[in-house]
């Protein structure tokens, strides 16, 4: 941060970490695919696609080692379905599932806290409603802007796994992380997809 060489170092380490991420992802993904193929022999194309995507997602989430909320949410979403549960367990190992089960309540508690907070916020809003309304007429532009931002935040919350339970600050952090992981995932998958047709032909 202080000097250019430090910055460069930072850059290098970031790139290296991105690379490590990709390698780890690929490793885990292939492992997941192997598990998938071992468990089921005949599959339709849609089933196959689903399995591929699921294993890719799980691999991406497991590279995070449960440090981020979105990965935990992704894993817990995946393990909701019964067919996937075995895959999840196998892919992540037992300690992982324990981790998730211990972590999940914390997410829930966050959710609860969040709820309380919003309730309180609404109350405050209600109290001030009279004053606000008068202002609203005057500065409708700002309120429109706020509404737009809010709408988009809602959309983003739906996109990021587990985003419904996050507040705005958390959401931004998780989105950052999620985008980075998605990028790595897409990169690896694209390479894989580009590599594949060569074999089949």
């Amino acid at each position: 941060m202080c000097n250019p060489s430090g910055n460069q170092l930072d850059n290098v380490s970031r790139r290296n970490s991105a690379r490590m991420l990709k390698q780890e992802f690929l490793k885990k993904w292939i492992m997941g695919l192997q598990i998938c193929s071992a468990s089921k022999k005949e599959m339709s194309i849609l089933e196959r696609k689903k399995a591929i995507k699921l294993s890719a997602d799980l691999a991406m989430a497991s590279t995070k080692n449960g440090t981020t909320n979105w990965s935990l949410a992704l894993i817990s979403n995946a393990s909701k379905e019964n067919d996937n549960k075995t895959l999840v367990d196998q892919m992540l190992g037992n300690h992982h599932s324990e981790k998730i089960s211990t972590k999940r309540p914390s997410i829930v508690s966050i959710f609860r806290n969040k709820r309380v907070a919003t309730c309180r916020g609404k109350k405050i809003l209600k109290k001030r409603g009279g004053i606000r309304r008068a202002k609203k007429m005057a500065s409708s532009a700002t309120s429109i802007a706020k509404r737009l931002v809010k709408k988009r935040t809602q959309v983003l919350k739906r996109l990021v796994p587990g985003g419904e339970y996050m507040d705005e600050l958390n959401l931004m952090e998780e989105t950052l992380d999620y985008i980075l992981s998605l990028r790595a995932q897409v990169d690896v998958m694209r390479h894989f997809a580009n590599a594949t047709p060569k074999f089949e032909s």
């Binding site: 193929s37 194309i45 802007a145 705005e168 390479h191």
Partner: protein, 439 residues
């Protein structure tokens, strides 16, 4: 942090009694002076006397520029040792003058002066940038104008803010305390402002206008800095309430939160392509949403594609790796299951060494993924590969390769590096290798 490496900084730091605004004003003056000095011929000052005169006049609020104009073209050496007796009488400007005197004037040219200012001013992150600008300017005198007044003002604003902050650091830690202090500073700022405007009313309208603009810009930068410094110093929360802003803890916390969010948004802006031109939170969120969606769709699409091209689900991954084409990648994923496959693959690969040496260049430079792809795919066009190689990192060339593989490729690496293949030859050999592999 602020206090710079050289004596001028310290000297400036000594005059703590002068108010921020006055310092800032002094700098603004200096910038104007710079503007005059920037025309190509280097200009010098004659003697301490005239220089001192210049400052006393400045103190009295008279037009300093004319004097400087008249003094252009003279040569001097300002002895920094003289500063103590001669310059202190100029009160608040002593520090400034000293700073510029020892670093800038001794060396003489107007440009150096510039450099002096930015040296006293720059905070760590800026050192590099500023220095870079200055270096280029030093080599090409024609580029002097490249150090624009705006830049200078921003630097100045930065420093003044830092100073203010440093002062604060000494006296307060608590938020409430800061608030009151903030207000005091504000108050004195406002006083100064009125004073200044009075002063400047003597001058031509033009000057006043310019100064106001500059002041505004510097104020803005100092605002920005408040955020930056907040990131740098996480040990306590530094919140500034500006005029008319609430100071109770709730709204302060809210403000901190909002600033954090906007900081995250800034990072996101860097991350999401095409997002840096958009201003406004809604637009940025739009862009982010689109990006995330597109990435998710890509994942969807790619998994569909993979499912489509691999009729038997398991992808024949084992087959992939069993084939001679993938030895690089296998060794790259240290999966226990495939470890036994690696060796035969490597044996199979050995006959291909000649070809591998052709593509050794690519393999050596790019990371294994790249190499993997390179060896397999024929339909790759050259620009495509360039794109890929740029998106991959070329720094850690061989670290991705595990032990035995490195041995295998050691020779090819060297070969590839020593003889830099021209693009065409490379494609040719690549095609050849592909042909061979398909056989």
């Amino acid at each position: 942090m602020l206090h710079c490496l050289n004596a001028p900084g310290n000297a400036a730091g000594n005059c703590t009694d002068m108010s921020v605004l006055e310092r800032q004003r002094a700098r603004t003056k200096w910038q104007e002076e710079q503007l005059i000095h920037q025309p190509p011929q280097p200009c010098y000052f004659e003697g301490n006397d005239q220089f001192n005169n210049g400052f006393s006049m400045l103190n009295q609020g008279q037009d300093f520029l004319n004097l400087m104009n008249s003094e252009m073209g003279h040569v001097v050496k300002v002895d920094p040792g003289l500063d103590n007796n001669g310059w202190q009488e100029f009160g608040q400007f002593g520090g400034e003058v000293l700073g510029l005197g020892s670093s800038g004037f001794v060396t003489g040219s107007g440009f150096e002066l510039n450099y002096g200012i930015s040296r006293t001013v720059s905070c760590p992150e800026d050192v590099a940038a500023a220095a870079a600008v200055e270096e280029t300017a030093a080599t090409e005198t024609t580029q002097r104008e490249s150090v624009s007044p705006e830049k200078m003002t921003s630097l100045v604003g930065r420093e003044s803010f830092k100073k203010r902050k440093a002062d604060k650091n000494q006296s307060l830690k608590a938020v409430a305390g800061e608030e009151s202090r903030e207000k005091r500073i504000k108050g004195c700022n406002e006083e100064d402002e009125s004073k200044i405007t009075e002063e400047y009313s003597n001058n031509s309208k033009n000057t006043t206008h310019n100064n106001n603009i500059k002041r505004e810009t510097s104020a803005d930068t100092s605002k920005d800095n408040s955020k930056v410094s907040e990131v740098q110093k996480p040990d306590y929360i530094h919140v500034r309430a500006r005029r008319g802003q609430a100071t109770d803890s709730h709204s302060l916390a809210e403000r901190v939160r909002r600033e954090k969010i906007s900081e995250r948004m800034k990072y996101l802006q860097d991350l999401v392509p095409g997002c840096n031109k958009i201003t406004g939170k809604a637009g940025m969120l739009d862009e982010i949403i689109n990006y995330v969606q597109s990435l998710q769709r890509q994942v969807e699409f790619l998994s569909m594609k993979l499912a489509a091209v691999n009729p038997s689900l398991d992808f024949n991954i084992d087959n992939f790796f069993a084939k001679e084409v993938f030895p690089g990648s296998t060794s790259n994923f240290p999966i226990g299951v495939q470890s036994e496959i690696t060796n035969p693959a490597y044996l199979q690969f050995n006959p291909l060494q000649q070809l591998a040496s052709c593509s050794g260049l690519e393999m050596g430079i790019n990371n294994p993924d790249m190499a993997l792809r390179r060896t397999i795919s024929a339909p790759l066009s050259i620009p495509d590969t360039f794109l890929d190689s740029s998106c991959f990192d070329q720094i850690q060339t061989s670290s991705g390769w595990d032990g035995n593989l490195q041995n295998i490729y050691g020779m090819e690496f060297l070969q590839g590096r020593l003889t830099s293949f021209p693009g065409q030859q490379f494609t040719g050999s690549n095609e050849a290798s592909n042909l061979k592999m398909e056989m």
